[in-house]
Amino acid sequence: MAAFASLGTQTADLIPSGKAHLRDTTQDGTRALEAFLAGVERKAFRIAQIALRHEADALDVVQDAMMQLSSRYASRPAQEWKPLFYRILENRVRDVQRRRSVRNRVMSYMPWRGEDEEEAVDPVEQAVDQAPLPPAQLESDEAMAALEQAIAALPTRQRQAFLLRNFEGMDVAETAAAMKCSPGSVKTHYFRALQALRAKLGEFRT
């Protein structure tokens, strides 16, 4: 917060003293954008992480989306930010997936590709925490892992519709704007996603 406070001061210093109303407007806009980003960043990270199954890539994608929204679309009305942000995020996710796909295809043709060229795995990251988890936590973690796997296996549009509607809590119109499709398509994708998840995670049903 201290960093943000100093940022606001720096921004205000750029505006001449005779234009105090502009300074107030800029500060209000920055505060609103900061609040918006703070409100979506964790969910955005989880959405990217589920799609990419990679923490560092997910963080990069969220940062890119924040940067782009802030630098290009901050002047848009605040109610447009959420669909725009998630559209940017999904585009970035797709970019990373394409890059991976190309890299994997190229690497598959390399005859000298050995195990030592595989991505180095951080042993600390991979280490299993030996502390016993409480039964409720364990059950919750297992359920989350199963849910995450099932969501990741959905077709892209179904995954988007499910996460934006169910997790992010966007309404049909906002989801349609974020996915660049019609509200009817959103409903269809969401319904199919629910059917597929129910088929895989039957035990979630009550």
Binding site: T11, E34, F45, L59, E148
Partner: protein, 134 residues
Amino acid sequence: MIGDDTPEGDSEFERRTRALLLQSADQLPGAVRSRLTQARHAALAARSQRGPSITRRWMPLGAAVAAALALLIVYVPHGRSPLENPVPGAGLEDIELLSDTDAVPLNGDQDVDYDFYEWAAAEAAGAAGPAVGS
């Protein structure tokens, strides 16, 4: 259930999955939360340090070029076809001039009666003063 915009219309399955996902977002590791905060600050800093957009930066130059082009189009004469009549409505006027038998001939000296004009000048001079030959 399809098309419901309110969480109240959700099934138990939807509520359960949402609760799990929200819980996972709330329990992110500290390192991830810190990276997200840094990313947010970086995005806000980039916004505050951003100059005018490319469109706004190049707009005056674009306007000047457009104005110069407009002036060129208006004031610079364009290549015309030689058959094109440069003066609108001049065709009829030309025909009248050519068909007028009382007008001064336009086709050079060949039809000019110089003897008549010399005689007329001499007559005029004679009327004004004594004749040259007398």
